[in-house]
Protein backbone atom coordinates (compact mmCIF):
# COMPACT_ATOMS: atom_id res chain seq x y z
CA UNK A 1 0.00 0.00 0.00
CA UNK A 2 1.35 3.44 -0.90
CA UNK A 3 2.13 5.93 1.81
CA UNK A 4 -0.65 8.24 0.62
CA UNK A 5 -3.42 5.65 0.80
CA UNK A 6 -2.12 4.38 4.15
CA UNK A 7 -2.29 7.98 5.39
CA UNK A 8 -5.78 8.31 3.97
CA UNK A 9 -6.86 5.26 5.96
CA UNK A 10 -5.39 6.74 9.14
CA UNK A 11 -7.50 9.84 8.54
CA UNK A 12 -10.58 7.74 7.85
CA UNK A 13 -10.04 5.70 11.03
CA UNK A 14 -9.83 8.88 13.08
CA UNK A 15 -13.06 10.15 11.52
CA UNK A 16 -14.76 6.80 12.16
CA UNK A 17 -13.88 7.12 15.85
CA UNK A 18 -15.53 10.54 15.87
CA UNK A 19 -18.69 9.10 14.33
CA UNK A 20 -18.81 6.41 17.03
CA UNK A 21 -18.41 8.98 19.77
CA UNK A 22 -21.30 11.02 18.40
CA UNK A 23 -23.39 7.84 18.13
CA UNK A 24 -22.71 6.96 21.78
CA UNK A 25 -23.50 10.57 22.69
CA UNK A 26 -26.82 10.56 20.85
CA UNK A 27 -27.78 7.32 22.57
CA UNK A 28 -26.79 8.46 26.03
CA UNK A 29 -28.47 11.88 26.12
CA UNK A 30 -32.06 10.55 26.32
CA UNK A 31 -30.92 8.26 29.14
CA UNK A 32 -29.86 11.26 31.19
CA UNK A 33 -33.43 12.48 31.35
CA UNK A 34 -35.17 9.38 32.65
CA UNK A 35 -33.87 6.84 35.11
CA UNK A 36 -30.40 8.20 35.17
CA UNK A 37 -28.56 6.10 37.72
CA UNK A 38 -29.39 2.54 36.59
CA UNK A 39 -28.89 3.56 32.94
CA UNK A 40 -25.43 4.96 33.59
CA UNK A 41 -24.46 2.07 35.84
CA UNK A 42 -25.35 -0.54 33.20
CA UNK A 43 -23.68 1.45 30.41
CA UNK A 44 -20.54 1.73 32.54
CA UNK A 45 -20.48 -1.96 33.43
CA UNK A 46 -20.85 -2.91 29.75
CA UNK A 47 -18.05 -0.52 28.79
CA UNK A 48 -15.62 -1.68 31.47
CA UNK A 49 -16.33 -5.37 30.85
CA UNK A 50 -15.90 -5.18 27.07
CA UNK A 51 -13.39 -2.36 26.51
CA UNK A 52 -11.11 -2.63 29.55
CA UNK A 53 -11.45 -6.22 30.77
CA UNK A 54 -11.90 -7.53 27.20
CA UNK A 55 -14.48 -10.07 28.32
CA UNK A 56 -16.39 -12.00 25.64
CA UNK A 57 -19.52 -10.20 24.43
CA UNK A 58 -21.65 -13.30 24.94
CA UNK A 59 -21.02 -13.52 28.66
CA UNK A 60 -21.39 -9.78 29.15
CA UNK A 61 -24.66 -9.41 27.25
CA UNK A 62 -26.27 -12.63 28.42
CA UNK A 63 -25.58 -11.84 32.06
CA UNK A 64 -26.07 -8.07 32.00
CA UNK A 65 -29.17 -7.77 29.78
CA UNK A 66 -31.54 -9.84 31.95
CA UNK A 67 -30.43 -7.99 35.09
CA UNK A 68 -30.81 -4.61 33.40
CA UNK A 69 -34.26 -5.44 32.00
CA UNK A 70 -35.32 -6.80 35.40
CA UNK A 71 -34.24 -3.60 37.14
CA UNK A 72 -36.21 -1.42 34.71
CA UNK A 73 -39.18 -3.77 34.91
CA UNK A 74 -39.17 -3.59 38.69
CA UNK A 75 -38.78 0.19 38.75
CA UNK A 76 -41.37 0.73 36.03
CA UNK A 77 -44.19 -1.02 37.80
Amino acid sequence: MSRGSAGGLVGLSAAAVGLLISMAGKLIVPLLQGRRIPSLVFALIAFVAVALLRLPLYGVVLSLAPVSVAVFWWRGR
Partner: protein, 176 residues
Protein backbone atom coordinates in the same frame (compact mmCIF):
# COMPACT_ATOMS: atom_id res chain seq x y z
CA UNK B 1 -4.44 -15.52 3.32
CA UNK B 2 -6.68 -18.37 2.28
CA UNK B 3 -7.61 -20.58 5.13
CA UNK B 4 -10.73 -22.72 5.04
CA UNK B 5 -10.74 -23.63 8.71
CA UNK B 6 -10.35 -19.97 9.68
CA UNK B 7 -13.20 -19.00 7.39
CA UNK B 8 -15.55 -21.70 8.65
CA UNK B 9 -14.90 -20.91 12.30
CA UNK B 10 -15.38 -17.20 11.56
CA UNK B 11 -18.72 -18.01 9.93
CA UNK B 12 -19.88 -19.96 12.96
CA UNK B 13 -18.97 -17.03 15.20
CA UNK B 14 -20.95 -14.64 13.02
CA UNK B 15 -24.11 -16.71 13.22
CA UNK B 16 -24.07 -16.46 17.01
CA UNK B 17 -22.80 -12.91 17.13
CA UNK B 18 -26.08 -11.57 15.77
CA UNK B 19 -27.92 -12.70 18.88
CA UNK B 20 -25.82 -10.69 21.33
CA UNK B 21 -25.01 -7.57 19.29
CA UNK B 22 -27.56 -5.31 20.91
CA UNK B 23 -27.23 -2.10 18.96
CA UNK B 24 -26.03 -3.57 15.70
CA UNK B 25 -22.62 -4.13 14.23
CA UNK B 26 -20.99 -1.26 16.13
CA UNK B 27 -21.84 -3.04 19.36
CA UNK B 28 -20.27 -6.24 18.02
CA UNK B 29 -16.96 -4.73 16.94
CA UNK B 30 -15.14 -5.42 20.26
CA UNK B 31 -16.08 -9.10 20.02
CA UNK B 32 -15.03 -9.25 16.36
CA UNK B 33 -11.74 -7.62 17.37
CA UNK B 34 -11.25 -10.09 20.21
CA UNK B 35 -11.81 -13.09 17.94
CA UNK B 36 -10.16 -11.86 14.76
CA UNK B 37 -7.14 -9.98 16.17
CA UNK B 38 -6.52 -11.04 19.78
CA UNK B 39 -7.34 -14.75 19.76
CA UNK B 40 -6.94 -16.02 16.20
CA UNK B 41 -4.54 -13.43 14.73
CA UNK B 42 -6.31 -13.54 11.39
CA UNK B 43 -5.81 -9.80 11.02
CA UNK B 44 -3.31 -7.36 12.48
CA UNK B 45 -4.50 -4.48 14.65
CA UNK B 46 -3.76 -2.17 11.71
CA UNK B 47 -5.74 -4.23 9.19
CA UNK B 48 -8.70 -4.43 11.53
CA UNK B 49 -8.68 -0.67 12.10
CA UNK B 50 -8.39 -0.06 8.34
CA UNK B 51 -11.32 -2.38 7.63
CA UNK B 52 -13.38 -0.65 10.29
CA UNK B 53 -12.58 2.74 8.75
CA UNK B 54 -13.44 1.58 5.23
CA UNK B 55 -16.72 0.03 6.41
CA UNK B 56 -17.70 3.30 8.10
CA UNK B 57 -16.65 5.59 5.27
CA UNK B 58 -18.12 3.53 2.45
CA UNK B 59 -21.76 4.15 1.64
CA UNK B 60 -23.98 1.34 2.81
CA UNK B 61 -24.20 -0.65 5.98
CA UNK B 62 -21.30 -0.75 8.43
CA UNK B 63 -21.47 -4.54 8.51
CA UNK B 64 -19.15 -4.23 5.52
CA UNK B 65 -16.36 -4.83 8.06
CA UNK B 66 -17.54 -8.43 8.26
CA UNK B 67 -17.56 -8.69 4.46
CA UNK B 68 -13.97 -7.41 4.37
CA UNK B 69 -12.79 -9.87 7.03
CA UNK B 70 -14.55 -12.66 5.11
CA UNK B 71 -12.74 -11.55 1.95
CA UNK B 72 -9.43 -11.60 3.77
CA UNK B 73 -10.04 -15.15 4.98
CA UNK B 74 -11.61 -16.67 1.89
CA UNK B 75 -11.70 -14.32 -1.10
CA UNK B 76 -14.99 -13.52 -2.81
CA UNK B 77 -16.67 -16.67 -1.47
CA UNK B 78 -15.56 -15.73 2.04
CA UNK B 79 -16.93 -12.23 1.62
CA UNK B 80 -20.35 -13.47 0.53
CA UNK B 81 -20.50 -16.24 3.10
CA UNK B 82 -19.53 -13.92 5.96
CA UNK B 83 -22.15 -11.36 4.97
CA UNK B 84 -24.82 -14.04 4.75
CA UNK B 85 -23.77 -15.65 8.04
CA UNK B 86 -24.17 -12.33 9.84
CA UNK B 87 -27.36 -11.19 8.08
CA UNK B 88 -29.51 -14.29 7.94
CA UNK B 89 -30.09 -14.74 11.68
CA UNK B 90 -30.46 -10.97 12.11
CA UNK B 91 -33.05 -10.73 9.36
CA UNK B 92 -35.07 -13.65 10.70
CA UNK B 93 -34.84 -12.33 14.24
CA UNK B 94 -35.87 -8.83 13.16
CA UNK B 95 -38.76 -10.19 11.13
CA UNK B 96 -40.23 -12.10 14.06
CA UNK B 97 -39.44 -9.56 16.75
CA UNK B 98 -40.72 -6.59 14.73
CA UNK B 99 -44.19 -8.15 14.69
CA UNK B 100 -44.26 -8.84 18.41
CA UNK B 101 -42.62 -5.47 19.13
CA UNK B 102 -45.36 -3.57 17.33
CA UNK B 103 -48.10 -5.66 18.88
CA UNK B 104 -46.90 -5.15 22.45
CA UNK B 105 -45.92 -1.54 21.93
CA UNK B 106 -47.43 -0.36 25.19
CA UNK B 107 -46.80 -3.47 27.29
CA UNK B 108 -44.73 -2.71 30.43
CA UNK B 109 -42.39 -5.61 29.75
CA UNK B 110 -41.62 -4.33 26.27
CA UNK B 111 -40.87 -0.89 27.69
CA UNK B 112 -38.62 -2.47 30.34
CA UNK B 113 -36.75 -4.49 27.70
CA UNK B 114 -36.08 -1.38 25.66
CA UNK B 115 -35.07 0.69 28.69
CA UNK B 116 -32.82 -2.11 29.87
CA UNK B 117 -31.06 -2.74 26.57
CA UNK B 118 -30.30 0.84 25.51
CA UNK B 119 -27.71 1.46 28.29
CA UNK B 120 -25.89 -1.75 27.32
CA UNK B 121 -25.81 -0.58 23.71
CA UNK B 122 -24.31 2.72 24.87
CA UNK B 123 -21.60 0.87 26.78
CA UNK B 124 -20.81 -1.37 23.81
CA UNK B 125 -20.66 1.45 21.26
CA UNK B 126 -18.40 3.40 23.64
CA UNK B 127 -16.22 0.27 23.96
CA UNK B 128 -15.93 0.14 20.16
CA UNK B 129 -14.96 3.83 20.08
CA UNK B 130 -12.32 3.19 22.75
CA UNK B 131 -10.81 0.17 20.98
CA UNK B 132 -10.65 1.83 17.57
CA UNK B 133 -9.39 5.10 19.05
CA UNK B 134 -6.52 3.25 20.75
CA UNK B 135 -5.31 2.08 17.34
CA UNK B 136 -6.34 5.07 15.22
CA UNK B 137 -5.69 8.14 17.34
CA UNK B 138 -1.91 7.99 17.53
CA UNK B 139 -1.25 11.64 16.73
CA UNK B 140 -2.64 14.97 17.85
CA UNK B 141 -3.96 15.52 14.32
CA UNK B 142 -5.85 12.20 14.46
CA UNK B 143 -7.37 13.08 17.84
CA UNK B 144 -8.40 16.45 16.41
CA UNK B 145 -10.07 14.75 13.45
CA UNK B 146 -11.96 12.41 15.79
CA UNK B 147 -13.11 15.34 17.92
CA UNK B 148 -14.11 17.42 14.89
CA UNK B 149 -16.03 14.53 13.31
CA UNK B 150 -17.80 13.80 16.58
CA UNK B 151 -18.80 17.47 16.89
CA UNK B 152 -19.98 17.70 13.26
CA UNK B 153 -22.00 14.48 13.51
CA UNK B 154 -23.48 15.41 16.87
CA UNK B 155 -24.24 19.09 16.52
CA UNK B 156 -24.79 19.72 12.81
CA UNK B 157 -26.80 18.28 9.97
CA UNK B 158 -23.75 18.08 7.74
CA UNK B 159 -23.41 14.57 6.36
CA UNK B 160 -20.49 12.75 8.06
CA UNK B 161 -19.26 11.71 4.63
CA UNK B 162 -17.84 15.24 4.25
CA UNK B 163 -15.85 14.75 7.45
CA UNK B 164 -14.63 11.42 6.12
CA UNK B 165 -13.59 13.01 2.82
CA UNK B 166 -11.72 15.81 4.59
CA UNK B 167 -10.05 13.34 6.98
CA UNK B 168 -8.98 11.07 4.12
CA UNK B 169 -7.58 14.07 2.20
CA UNK B 170 -5.60 15.25 5.24
CA UNK B 171 -4.28 11.72 5.76
CA UNK B 172 -3.44 11.30 2.10
CA UNK B 173 -1.46 14.54 2.21
CA UNK B 174 0.54 13.07 5.08
CA UNK B 175 -0.78 15.50 7.67
CA UNK B 176 -2.29 13.00 10.15
Amino acid sequence: MKDDSALSSFLVQLVFLAFVSIGGINAAVPELHRQVVDINHWLSEQQFTDFFAIANAAPGPNLLIVTLIGYQLGGAVGALAATAALCTPTCLLTYFIAHAWERFKDAPLRIAIQAGLVPITVGLVAATAYLIARAADQSIAAVAISAATAAIAYFTRIHPLWAFAAAAALGFAGLV
